[in-house]
């Protein structure tokens, strides 16, 4: 079980879906948990725009409704990230990844700025279309190996996972909010409200770290 990122210290059973805590997944889980707690307790930042060449500055005010909704989305994003970090099932991982994608859209779509909403819309299109390769990869995993459990795949007794399934999984995760798309996220970062926007970035990073482990299995 070397390819699982360490020997699972604790396995939680949900029927056929095992949730396992290995040193690697515990670390990622704790990171997601910490940031979720921070998003719960912290108040949103207030962006200050300073006009060059003068003393004028403006503070952007975030309405309570918007703040509440974005906090809800940030918490949902944190929970989805935590689930994606510890799940031991490929299909379950793709589901959590899809949930991270949609909550990321929700965090930024709540902002009242046409520019930010444009970016959120484009990102939403990508997240939507990325579900095709994402779930297609899970289907290929099941068809080629007969199992979806990462612990079974890591044992090496099942047939090897086709490379194309791994590639589809990776591009699906990319679409749900990963490194090459940080350029688009930078547009979203113009949205005020620091802890919630950082949650988008952190969840993408965590999912990237986890998918690196998943594609090395099987």
């Amino acid at each position: 079980m070397g390819s699982l990122g360490g020997i699972p210290l604790y396995v939680l059973e949900f029927g056929d879906e095992l949730v396992y805590f290995s040193p690697y997944t515990i670390t990622l889980f704790l990171l997601a948990l910490t940031f979720t707690l921070l998003a719960i307790v912290s108040r949103p930042e207030r962006q200050v725009d300073v006009a060059f060449g003068g003393d004028a500055y403006t503070t952007k005010i975030i309405s309570v409704d918007e703040m509440r909704f974005r906090r809800f989305m940030a918490i949902a994003c944190g929970l989805a990230s935590m689930g994606a970090m510890v799940t031991g099932d490929v299909f379950n991982f793709t589901l959590f990844t899809a949930m991270v994608g949609i909550t990321n859209v929700g965090i930024v779509a709540a902002v009242k700025s046409p520019h930010v909403q444009d970016a959120a819309y484009q990102y939403g299109l990508v997240a939507l279309s990325a579900t095709v390769p994402l779930f297609g990869a899970a289907a290929l995993y099941a068809a080629a190996t007969g199992s979806l459990s990462m612990i079974e795949l890591a044992k090496g007794t099942l047939p090897a996972v086709p490379l194309v399934a791994k590639a589809l999984l990776v591009i699906g995760v990319v679409g749900e909010g990963m490194a090459p798309f940080y350029a688009a996220k930078a547009e979203m970062f113009r949205a005020p409200g620091a802890p919630y926007v950082i949650m988008c970035s952190l969840s993408s990073l965590l999912i990237f770290l986890r998918v690196a482990e998943v594609v090395m299995i099987g």
């Binding site: 059973e13 949900f14 029927g15 056929d16 879906e17 095992l18 949730v19 909704f69 809800f72 989305m73 949902a76 799940t87 099932d89 299909f91 379950n92 589901l95 959590f96 899809a98 949930m99 949609i102 859209v105 929700g106 779509a109 709540a110 009242k112 444009d118 970016a119 484009q122 990102y123 299109l125 990508v126 279309s129 990325a130 390769p133 290929l140 099941a142 068809a143 080629a144 190996t145 007969g146 199992s147 979806l148 459990s149 079974e152 099942l158 047939p159 086709p162 490379l163 194309v164 399934a165 590639a167 589809l168 591009i171 679409g175 090459p180 798309f181 350029a183 688009a184 930078a186 547009e187």
Partner: protein, 148 residues
Amino acid sequence: MIIRRISHYLCRYEHIVPLFAAACAVLFMASVLALPVTYHEDQLYPKAIDRQSPLDPYDRGGPPFTQVSIHAQYPENSPTAGLVTSYLTPFSLFLADTTLHLGTTIVAHPGGIIDEILYNTRGLDTVVETTILLVAFAIASFLYRKVR
């Protein structure tokens, strides 16, 4: 210099969708070239389809209150798997008894989506799927109310 050009191209978010679409297209073509992928016969949750059953293709088989054997990955974790094979409301039962087309409408009532295999062996999937729907509806309703 080339990196600057690439990042300049990527900095416009309108370019992200065509870029991703192109990447997907290339990968799908590579997937077609990589065919055939060998199908592993020993699958979890095998399903026999009876075209004559009014519940087709959702008929799990087996009389009520007897346990149908289900090939699970970890049978010790789901001791009750296969005990419940259908949840039909009286109206669904009437439809199933009189027509052959309940299978096409089965997602419209309880017992379709949350079927027993999902419920007993892959319950966490069902929870996450419905949570995704909840989040999507929450976003849509928030945006709708904001626009009004």
